[in-house]
């Protein structure tokens, strides 16, 4: 019967599916969400990159700005300083985090949940806060400044201690994950072969977590190199790339040079990012082949040792935090150590007063709500969408990009892009909206990955089934996808909220007199020398973030209990 049919030719143009109204709607959504990332990320970055090859009047000067940069010795020293701080912080943080994670996963020390919670505290405070505490502890009038043996806390020592505090939770999360995918059978095999525990450590444990360690190393390095809070507060005259951008842009409003430094800062961040992505993939491969979970055996000496270690680390973290709270309450350190609330009169200080605090809460709330909607919907369209493959691929790339873009660079890019007189979007400049957009974009990647992971765990055939039942995609999205992904959605919103409360880097270029933020107020008060009020405001941020975290914990528990009946299904 088919013999008479025309032979199918490879050259004939392939068939194109007729689009249903559903498909058209979905394509529209993909375009809209794609347009968001183009406007909020791609175009600002492009404008910034092009600024680095223009002069202040907008004329093209090629690499002249770069030559000028590399001819300025103080700026080039900053590269060296940044690398130094980054490397030392990486080594210290990863070492501390590894031992702590080892204790959490391989010992039976008591109180693990408490210590884990304490270790996560630094995520809830602006990176400026540890610097402030260090001034009170080790400054000229520092309570225990003898402990530095005459060394100066202002400079690399202070920056590195602050960065270790700031990056510890990030490294810890990664290394705990890496350690907990260990296969117990490997250890049993090694023990059966009578390998010594040292030998087991070096032949089984370390190789098993190597990707985790590399990944943690790069994450810490990137954070330390691109962080701006710590060097600003306690760096003294030890210049690093991040403070250079700030000085060039805010101090001298030399935007072109700021753009050049941004590009320089973009290089290590982007490099670290790509290596991390590469390593992550291998880590995932290890994960999928996991077998029997390792159950640590009790060992009194080892467990006590780990407990002591965890106590020391917790003491460090709580000490920094406690110091800040006391600093906020001292009436006039160091001459009047009676306690009072006078430092909470933010309205008499730089930084925008109590309004800043409420602005921050408002900004964080908007970021959490709109950010979660945008991120989750974007991830859904990339993951489950049909058609426009190229655009979805590009979207996926753009969604990963913010991880490699330091906040300061993003903020600077926003000034360039949103303050162009020719840009119709410049109505957003100096508004709350631009703060929200920049913050969503700054923290896009991790949110996007959380959403994508949750979506990938869902059966890939839901959409096909729904189509066969002639149901529009958005009905399935609302009735199935969102309920199933609720835990991830909550995680994303809380992640965005906390980061919006603590972030300084991108928004420091973008706030306006109506939209001063608490985190920026910490910076500005410290800048003006009002360090005690800065500590007070920093602690307000901490209490707010911690309160929201606790709320989130109970909310998640509630949802878990309510949906317990069907949630088990993901186990099969």
């Amino acid at each position: 019967m088919a013999a008479t049919e025309v032979q199918v030719s490879d050259k004939a143009s392939p068939l194109k599916a007729k689009s249903s109204s559903d498909d058209k709607l979905m394509r529209l959504f993909i375009l809209v969400i794609g347009a968001y990332l183009v406007v909020a990320l791609a175009m600002p970055l492009y404008v910034m990159l092009s600024k680095s090859v223009l002069n202040s009047d907008g004329g093209f000067v090629g690499l002249l700005n770069y030559f000028a940069y590399f001819k300025t010795p103080s700026l080039v020293y900053s590269i060296k300083n940044s690398l130094f701080v980054g490397l030392v912080t990486t080594v210290i943080t990863v070492s501390i985090a590894f031992v702590l994670a080892y204790g959490f996963t391989r010992s039976r020390m008591p109180g693990k949940p408490i210590f884990k919670t304490i270790a996560m505290i630094p995520i809830l405070v602006p990176s400026l806060l540890p610097g402030i505490a260090l001034i009170y502890l080790f400054g000229r009038q520092g309570i225990i400044n003898w402990a530095l043996f005459g060394h100066e806390i202002y400079g690399p020592i202070g920056i590195i201690i602050s960065e270790v505090f700031f990056t510890l939770p990030h490294a810890l999360i990664i290394i705990i994950t890496a350690l907990s995918i260990a296969d117990a059978r490997l250890y049993e095999a090694a023990t059966a072969l009578r390998a010594s525990s040292t030998r087991i450590f070096f032949t089984v444990t370390l190789p098993g977590v190597r990707y985790g360690l590399i990944s943690a190393g790069f994450v810490v390095f990137t954070l330390a190199v691109t962080d701006f809070g710590a060097p600003k507060v306690i760096g003294g005259d030890f210049n690093v790339l991040a403070t250079d951008i700030y000085k060039q842009v805010i101090g001298q409003q030399n935007f072109e040079m700021g753009a050049v430094v941004s590009v320089v800062l973009l290089i290590p961040a982007a490099l670290a990012f790509f290596v991390d992505r590469l390593v992550q993939k291998k880590q995932v491969a290890l994960l999928s082949s996991r077998a029997v979970a390792l159950e640590p055996k009790p060992s009194r000496r080892f467990d006590n040792g780990m407990l002591a270690y965890a106590l020391v680390v917790s003491f460090f973290i709580l000490g920094i935090l406690g110091m800040c709270q006391f600093a906020a309450l001292f009436k006039f350190f160091p001459y009047n150590l009676s306690l009072g609330l006078s430092n909470y009169q933010f309205d008499l200080m730089d930084g925008g007063g109590w309004d800043s605090y409420f602005n921050s809460i408002e900004m964080a709330s908007y970021t959490a709500v709109f950010g979660t909607i945008i991120v989750f919907y974007g991830a859904y369209l990339v993951e489950k969408g049909k058609g426009l493959g190229v655009i979805r691929g590009a979207f996926q790339f753009l969604a990963m990009l913010p991880m490699a873009v330091p906040g300061l660079v993003l903020g600077l890019a926003y000034i360039f892009f949103f303050n162009m007189p020719t840009n119709p979007l410049n109505v957003l400049y100096h508004t709350m909206a631009i703060l929200v957009i920049s913050t969503i974009t700054h923290f896009y990647t991790v949110s996007h990955l959380t959403a994508t992971t949750a979506l990938k765990q869902m059966d890939a055939q839901f959409e096909s089934v729904a189509a066969s039942l002639k149901q529009p995609f958005y009905r399935t999205f609302v009735r199935v996808t969102v309920p199933v992904c609720t835990p991830a959605i909550l995680d994303i919103s809380i992640y965005l909220f906390v980061n919006a409360m603590t972030t300084v880097s991108a928004v420091v270029f973008l706030y306006s007199p109506h939209t001063t933020l608490a985190s920026v107020a910490v910076l500005n008060m410290d800048d003006a020398g009002d360090i005690a009020p800065a500590a007070a405001m920093g602690m307000m941020i901490f209490y707010t973030a911690a309160g929201v975290k606790i709320l989130h914990y109970f909310l998640s528990r509630g949802i878990e209990a309510k949906t317990q009946a069907w949630r088990r299904s993901s186990d099969n």
Binding site: E5, Q461, S468, V484, T563
Partner: protein, 358 residues
Amino acid sequence: MTDAFLRIENLAKNFGNFTALRNISLSVLEGEFVCFLGPSGCGKTTLLRAIAGLDIQTQGRIEQAGIDISILPPAERDFGIVFQSYALFPNLTVEKNVAYGLESRRAARSEVIGRVKELLALVDLADQGKKYPSQLSGGQQQRVALARALATSPGLLLLDEPLSALDAKVRTHLRQEIKHLQRRLAVTTIMVTHDQEEALTMADRIVVMNHGSIEQIGSPEDIYAAPASEFVAQFIGTMNFINVVVESANQGKHPGGFVKFSPDNLRQGESARLAIRPEDVEILNKKDEQNTDQVLGKVVSTEYLGAFLRVTIAPEGWESTLLADISTDIAVRFVIEAGGDVGFRLPPEKILAYQENK
């Protein structure tokens, strides 16, 4: 051919440079149960997804109930689908899963409730409606998926390896149940499977596929008894192969001697592969030397398979061993045991002959 319910003509599908389907043409009659059978990667699922409109073919035409549906989106086609993973919505109860396709069709609530009840009764889950999928066994979940797919009374039911995730016992049971249900509802059904037993027991017709092409279309009996290609012969059931060079019209030569066969599709001098099923190998009394067809060999091993005995024979001078399925009765009569001698014959009328593939 006008009464074909589903007609596929010259279908092809490429993924980049990879050709997943080529030159697929077939027709499915109304009410028929057709299985796409083949090893993984043969294109059977791709073909199913093209029929569903989930992945549009690169070339070719699909017609359902006289309407060209080649490029229609899934929502505009008329089918229900069941996947290996069940794909039940975990947060909806069994009832709501089944009702999912009914609700927005402007049907009255009471009507929907009635229909859901009816469907759950049909798949024998009348009392499980309020449960969540995770509270059911795998077999039960798959029946819910079936009820959901049938809820809208689709003209075509597509089953994508529906039984592969279940244990052997449940699988056998559900196999019958699905077949029974399909007969009762007379719904045209296409099932994708890699399990020949499933295909042989359930299908009215089987489409055997390999490397993106159809190797053979036929009833289970045809496919088993007269495999159209060496691939089919090898893929379905167990088969002995003997490499020969065709000497005369019905005789092939190989290092161990000659084999006679009846098919006459081969030319003299050609290399060929002769095939015979183990159950067609005839065990002889080795003392009976009158039988000129008799081949002598050693018993390498025997394998007791309940109803019969599978004997591995190393014929004298042959390059490869041969399998023969014999009744225990014969085994006792001819004293077939490992290490012993055995005589057998290959009845020419049971031998299949294929040109050697290059």
